[in-house]
């Protein structure tokens, strides 16, 4: 009797400790918590919470398309399309994070990437493979914009948080200047939308024709792999991780921390820049409507946090946020207030911050263990 009870609480201790220790598990927990709180709000409004889940479900598997009289996986396509910038911006945030930097600037790096891709998609005559060219310049532009932050941080000791916030807005307004004043759309009634992009610069659609899913998706997968490879496998990644954990020790042992910080921010920027290109060249088959910040960069922060800045985690988190985004539209057909999505996203990030509390629990349990051990000694 007593024996069994003892053994049981032993085992459950074990799995609790496992759970507390595993970042992945806590991330899943955090996401579930966020969605549950969303459900609660929906219920409090007297709406049917199951519709919320239905919307998220449809975002993954699609629905019966009355218009076409057939099952359609369009929503899945949208989910994956949205996931492209989410994952890429997540990689941007996460990469910097691993080097001990907080890259709020993915938004700005995304914007300059889009700007560069745009410039080369409208201002030079169309030629085959232009899309690839645009992507490359976007990556470079993002890298430069991120690198600036790195240099400011490494050379001038300027907080990357403040610097990136500034650069985000600067990027946004420069993009407007370029898109609206340098290459204005020529045709009547089309102002405040960029000029048409050269047809050769548009990304080809893949898999799901009912959506904008395009080859950008493959580049996203490639980016995830590159991230993993650089971070975990190469000596470059080693110096990044070392700098991230302890800049001074890395420096003292001969790692060039200035270079590591600048370079890693540049790489982070490159990911975001690619995101900008994928969105611009992929979302619409024509010019893009200018508006405020697209927020992919900011959501990238949440994506990276949920994904614990690890490549696979960021990939999955990005898909999840993509699904929430496509559910944002779907749930409006089910009379679910769409702001629930923003609330869920916000709560997820807050819960992640609060997750630090789990560390305290672990500490407490450790103390308890010592106490137990000593009591047992005392008993003997």
């Amino acid at each position: 009797m007593t024996k069994s009870s003892k053994s049981t609480n032993k085992t459950d201790q074990v799995w609790i400790d496992r759970l507390l220790a595993s970042e992945g598990a806590t991330s899943v927990l955090v996401v579930i918590l966020g969605i549950l709180s969303g459900t609660l709000i929906v219920a409090l409004l007297g709406k049917n919470p199951s519709s919320l889940f239905k919307a998220i479900w449809q975002a993954f598997v699609g629905y019966y398309n009355k218009g076409k009289g057939a099952w359609s996986v369009g929503p899945l396509g949208d989910t994956l399309t949205y996931a492209i910038p989410y994952v890429l911006c997540g990689l941007s945030m996460g990469f910097a994070n691993r080097v001990g930097l907080f890259n709020i600037g993915a938004e700005g790096q995304y914007t300059v990437g889009m700007l560069a891709a745009h410039a080369f998609a409208v201002c030079i005559p169309a030629f085959p493979g232009q899309w690839l060219f645009c992507m490359v310049v976007a990556v470079l532009a993002g890298a430069i914009w991120g690198g600036i932050v790195g240099i400011l941080k490494a050379k001038f000791k300027i907080s990357e948080v403040v610097a990136t916030i500034m650069l985000n807005y600067i990027a946004l307004y420069i993009y407007r200047l370029v898109a609206l004043y340098l290459f204005p759309a020529g045709l009547t009634n089309r102002t405040y939308r960029t000029a048409d992009l050269a047809s050769t610069s548009i990304l080809k659609g893949v898999f799901i024709s009912e959506s904008n899913l395009n080859i950008g998706f493959f580049f996203m997968i490639l980016a995830v792999f590159v991230y993993w490879f650089i971070m975990e496998k190469t000596k470059l990644g080693f110096s990044f991780r070392a700098t991230g954990f302890n800049k001074d020790a890395a420096r003292c042992s001969g790692i060039n921390d200035t270079q590591a910080i600048s370079l890693s921010m540049a790489i982070a920027g490159a990911f975001a820049g690619l995101a900008g290109a994928c969105v611009l060249l992929g979302s619409l088959k024509f010019g893009r409507i200018m508006q405020g910040q697209d927020n992919y960069g900011f959501m990238g922060i949440a994506v990276a946090l949920v994904g614990n800045s690890k490549a696979p985690g960021i990939f999955l988190a990005g898909i999840l946020f993509g699904a929430l985004r496509s559910a944002y539209s779907l749930m409006q057909f089910m009379n679910i207030p769409r702001e629930v999505v923003n609330i869920i996203e916000g709560l997820i990030v807050i819960f992640i911050a609060l997750r630090a509390g789990l560390g305290k629990v672990q500490e407490y349990r450790a103390k308890q263990k010592i106490k137990k051990a000593r009591e047992q000694e005392a008993a003997k």
Binding site: Y64, G74, Y82, T188, N212
Partner: protein
């Protein structure tokens, strides 16, 4: 009753991030729909879908089609490209778009275009006459636009030509907020204009215009003789101040977007829906001006009615573009208006 309900067509209106309660353009379209269904069946027969950004336009169109709605209503030229792409792919889905006339003509798409310059001409006349009535010798008039473009240019040019028909050399100032949803910008501009002696400001800027009206209301409440002019819908209510018996909105340029939505819904209901471009103007009573404000002087009203008659008879032809108006020697140089 069941049957009448079910016999009614189903419709969804898709808007950009500002939603259907921008108190302006989208609001008018939405009002038309509610009128058509006399407020019964929101969420079943009709609903509105709001996009987070332009990346949602195509997904939203396709999701709506998938729900099998009889009609999709989109508002504003920002939807133009998405709608064109969509209509090609979904030939059986009836769609209308307002403020656009340049999309490829397809059987399932009606494009409604307004001749706003006509209505704007009237409010220009009204403002000028009011100034005259207040005995202001050389008044200054302001125009605040949302996002610059040919559509808004029609508002500005009409307004200017209306004013000039009364004060041939009145001074005009203009400002473009580059946004449909930034009242704080309009209010900042309006405040400093009113401070520097501008008499009346006409803002054709969607939600942004609210800032102008707010400032006018504040100043009228404080006893300053300044006016705001509303746009799209009659914004008299928005201009109420003090004990809410007086409004700072002298008049509003009425752009009856509801006419278009009702027109489209009726056509769908009667099965008379045919694609093409429909022009709304003074003849079709698609544009006009509001007389709700009791302080709008009699001279103004009579002058407006006269102008209306002349426009209908074709005696007055209001220019559509800045270029044309400048050529005609009416609009001054150096305005923010652009023709493409």
């Amino acid at each position: 009753k069941e049957e009448t309900k079910s016999s009614k067509p189903t419709v969804a209106i898709l808007t950009d991030a500002t939603g259907v309660d921008d108190k302006s353009f989208n609001a008018a379209a939405w009002r038309g729909i509610k009128q058509f269904y006399n407020n019964e069946g929101e969420g079943t027969l009709y609903r509105n879908i709001t996009a987070q950004s332009s990346d949602d336009y195509l997904p939203n169109l396709k999701n709506t089609a998938a729900q099998g709605y009889d009609l999709i209503i989109t508002t504003g030229f920002t939807w133009g490209d998405a709608v064109a792409a969509f209509c090609a792919e979904y030939p059986n889905q009836k769609v209308i778009i307002v403020d656009v006339d340049y999309l490829p003509q397809t059987a399932n798409l009606i494009q409604y275009i307004y001749e706003e310059e006509q209505g704007s001409y009237l409010v220009g006349v009204a403002a000028a006459k009011q100034a005259q009535h207040d005995g202001i010798s050389n008044p200054v008039f302001g125009f605040i636009g949302g996002v610059p473009g040919a559509t808004i240019t029609k508002f500005e040019i009409g307004y200017i030509e209306g004013i000039k028909s009364v004060f041939p050399n009145a001074k005009i100032v203009d400002y473009y907020a580059n946004s449909w949803g930034a009242p704080e910008l309009a209010k900042t501009q309006a405040k400093s204009w009113y401070d520097s002696g501008v008499y009346c400001i006409f803002s054709a800027a969607g939600g942004t215009g609210g800032g102008t009206i707010a400032q006018a209301a504040e100043y009228r409440a404080a006893g300053k003789n300044v006016w705001a002019i509303g746009v799209d819908s009659d914004q008299y209510e928005d201009g109420l101040y003090g004990d809410k018996t007086k409004s700072a909105v002298l008049t509003s340029m009425l752009k009856m977007v509801e006419n278009s939505t009702i027109d489209a819904l009726t056509k769908v209901e009667n099965g008379t829906f045919v694609g093409g471009v429909v022009t709304q103007n003074m003849k079709t009573e698609g544009v006009g001006y509001a007389t709700t404000n009791a302080e709008l002087c009699a001279e103004a009203k009579t002058a407006c009615e006269a102008a209306k008659a002349d426009i209908l008879s074709g005696k007055i032809v209001v220019n559509k573009t800045y270029a044309a108006s400048k050529a005609a020697g009416i609009a001054p140089a150096g305005l923010g208006a652009i023709d493409d």
